[in-house]
């Protein structure tokens, strides 16, 4: 294992060595995985291309259930691309092509038999910029349950809206103005509304693409608290630029660099005792 990393650290890795490295990491995760968290999402040798340009090189990563997994790395390293592979959001970009296997609960999500709409209902997503629908707060949360036929009558939907907003920690702030437009809320509230919207359809996995980058520190703190609570029921994958945030909220961390997954493991391991020099350089702020 150390050999492989030595090779990676010195030169820009080519395909072969990356495969070697990801194998190494896999063995690493299986060794360290003593916690009682089964693997929820398993990526194996995932490549992604935007037209001719390759954005991901043989990424293999296990995401454990009921844990927060942080994807860190400098800009353009492919962490968002990888995140968007998990709910096949990349399908909406015509020039984007993904190869390799990603399984959720051991089911291949790139299987042609998989309905991508159902997949996205199982894998919720929160985006970098809060993007509530320009509709009422109530409608924002009720939309998902409605289109998926999750509720029979108005009372069911009311319950779902209330419980989702409560779990997103927004209920007390908005319970008296559910009819107001979702866009009238502050940035942090909008982001929590988006989280409520995502959890309203009761997904297994929640993907968060830099959810706090447009928010102030107080709103960020609220979202981070929320993530810790949501972890009890959901598997969370978060892309973040802030290493402090990754250290605060995540149990697992994966470091991406130039489209390669350099290293992944328990968060304290990555932050205190990284095995790769590039990881070390990045978390100590020497680049990125």
């Amino acid at each position: 294992m150390t050999e492989a990393i030595y090779v990676e650290g010195t030169v820009r890795p080519d395909e072969e060595s990356v495969t070697g490295m990801s194998e190494a990491i896999e063995t690493d995760t299986t060794e360290t995985e003593t916690a009682p968290f089964p693997t929820k999402v398993k990526a194996n040798n995932v490549d992604a291309f935007y037209a001719e340009k390759q954005a991901l090189f043989g990424v293999s990563l296990d995401v454990p259930e009921n844990q927060v997994t942080a994807l860190i790395g400098p800009s353009g390293c492919g962490k968002s691309t990888f995140l968007r592979c998990i709910n096949r959001m990349n399908d909406t970009i015509p020039i984007c092509r993904v190869t390799g296997d990603i399984t959720i609960d051991e089911q291949d999500i790139y299987d042609p038999a998989i309905d991508v709409v159902q997949l996205r209902a199982r894998v919720g997503m929160v985006f970098q910029k809060p993007n509530p629908f320009p509709k009422s707060i109530y409608e924002n949360v009720a939309y998902g349950p409605r289109i998926h036929g999750m509720a029979q009558g108005k009372a069911d939907i009311d319950d779902l809206v209330e419980s989702s907003l409560q779990r997103a920690g927004l209920w007390n702030e908005v319970k008296d103005r559910l009819g107001e437009s979702g866009t009238s809320l502050s940035g942090g509230q909008q982001q929590r509304l988006c989280i409520a919207r995502a959890i309203a359809v009761n997904p297994d996995v929640i993907l968060m693409d830099e959810p706090c980058s447009a928010l102030d520190p107080i709103a960020t703190a609220r979202i981070e608290e929320l993530m810790d609570e949501l972890r009890q029921n959901y598997t969370i994958v978060i892309v973040t630029h802030s290493m402090q945030q990754a250290a605060r909220v995540s149990q697992r961390t994966a470091f991406f660099h130039l489209g390669y997954l350099v290293e992944s493991g328990a968060t304290e391991m990555i932050f205190t005792n990284p095995e790769d020099t590039r990881t070390q350089d990045y978390i100590t702020g020497r680049f990125g």
């Binding site: 709910n87 996205r120 919720g124 985006f127 320009p134 939309y143 998902g144 289109i147 437009s181």
Partner: protein
């Protein structure tokens, strides 16, 4: 900044002098002045246009009328005394009106003079009288004072459009007619009243009986066909091209062609309509159906282009949000993207419809330029539209049609303003901020 030969770096400072400042202020003031001047020039031209139309056309909204004492002789109207509607319709009302004219001016004799006398009132007077009698048969046997439309020439004389001080041979009314008319005026038997005929009847050879209602109905029917065809087809095309179609050479080709079609002269669409709808499909000539089809072809590219622009302006984050909660592509478009794009699509549609409303050339090709007296009752009846009516009247020799042309333009503009108002209201209804 440093030159290799000079050791001292040259520091250049910004020019904060008063002259520099003044120069900048002057340039800004000049620019502002040009802008204001341009707006004033545009407003002045608009004012000249509207002013000339209104000053020429407003007199068409009134009509000179002449009161005659009509003896509704039972022997002449209803000799059998049955009050049967058919026999009432058959009666010779023309002689009754003429008798009344002769009674008014007993001194006039001789065929030529009498013919001049009869020409004081509109040739449609017998029809007016018939309608009055049919509406109330109880009037038969009495003598009534009834207001009849004057002929268009006397109407123009009364409005001052025909000068009295030119030699008799140079005007459409002769001295005797002027004398009679003045006598009637002195008697209180003339008046100018609101010209309802102009708003309720179709075209006519006689200016005083001509109206725009036929053209208004024709316009409404034609534009309805245009809207019903171009809006759904245009929106569907825009949505498909923008949201679903793969981006490849075929869609590029289609896009280029749509953009080109938007710039094709309208007469070409008229020729196309003539060749395809009339000659090939054998649809009726002069019909609002065909006019609407041709105008829909012409409007479609505008609607598609505006629709695509409106769809493009919907932020992608909305699409991602909807797809992210598991909405299908169709749900994403129909629940989120299309409602947000609707104001823009409506604006584009109204612009296209406004262009269709003012279009004359393609309709000439499919025969909507015909002289049509009847009000169209359906999409396949012969009809004309407002701009073609304006075109027809502008061509007519009678002086009275000059003011009617301007009046028809005013009706056309009112139509346009109403349509734009509807667009603004619709847009406000659909508009959402995000």
């Amino acid at each position: 900044m440093t030159d290799p030969t000079i050791d001292q770096p040259i520091t250049r400072k910004p020019d904060f002098s008063a002259t520099h400042l003044r120069k900048r202020y002057r340039a800004e003031a000049r620019f502002k002045f040009y802008g204001v001047a341009a707006i004033f020039a545009a407003l002045a031209m608009l004012a000249i246009l509207l002013g000339s139309i209104i000053s020429t056309g407003s007199s068409a909204f009134t009509q000179t009328e002449i009161a005659l004492d009509i003896k509704l002789d039972a022997a002449k109207i209803d000799p059998d005394g049955t009050r049967d509607p058919e026999s009432l319709a058959r009666a010779n009302y023309r002689t009754i009106v003429r008798d009344a004219m002769r009674a008014q001016f007993p001194e006039v004799s001789g065929r030529r003079d009498l013919r001049k006398l009869y020409k004081l009132v509109s040739t449609g007077s017998d029809f007016t009288l018939r309608q009055i009698v049919e509406a109330d048969p109880a009037l038969i046997g009495t003598t009534q004072t009834i207001w009849f439309k004057s002929s268009a020439d006397l109407d123009q004389l009364n409005k001052g459009a025909i000068p009295r001080d030119v030699p008799e041979g140079d005007r459409r009314v002769n001295d005797a007619q002027i004398t009679w008319f003045d006598a009637l005026s002195d008697d209180g038997r003339t008046r100018r009243s609101f010209n309802t005929t102009f708003f309720t009847s179709g075209d006519s050879r006689e200016p005083e009986q001509a109206g725009v209602w036929g053209a208004v109905v024709g316009t409404m029917l034609t534009l309805f066909v245009t809207l019903v065809l171009s809006f759904p087809i245009g929106v569907m095309s825009a949505v498909y091209l923008e949201e679903f179609a793969p981006k490849n050479r075929w869609t590029d080709l289609i896009e280029v062609n749509i953009n080109n079609l938007a710039a094709v002269p309208s007469i070409v669409f008229g020729l196309l309509g003539l060749a395809v709808f009339l000659n090939f499909f054998g649809l009726p000539r002069s019909a609002p159906l065909v006019g609407g089809l041709v105008l829909a072809l012409m409007t479609l590219p505008t609607v598609i282009i505006a629709g695509r622009a409106a769809l493009q302006s919907v932020p992608p984050s909305i699409r991602e949000a909807a797809l992210g909660v598991g909405a299908s592509p169709l749900q994403t478009v129909s629940h989120h993207v299309l409602p947000l794009a609707m104001p823009g699509i409506l604006t584009g549609t109204i612009i296209g419809m406004a262009r269709a409303l003012g279009e004359t050339a393609p309709l000439l090709m499919i025969g909507m330029v015909a002289f049509i007296v009847d009000i169209p009752r359906g999409f396949t009846d012969a009809a004309t539209v407002l701009p073609v009516q304006v075109f027809l009247w502008a061509d007519a020799p009678e002086r009275a049609f000059v003011e009617r042309t301007s009046a028809a333009i005013m009706v056309l503009l009112a139509f346009l303003i109403l349509m734009n108002l509807a667009a603004v209201l619709l847009r406000r209804k659909f508009e959402r901020r995000w």
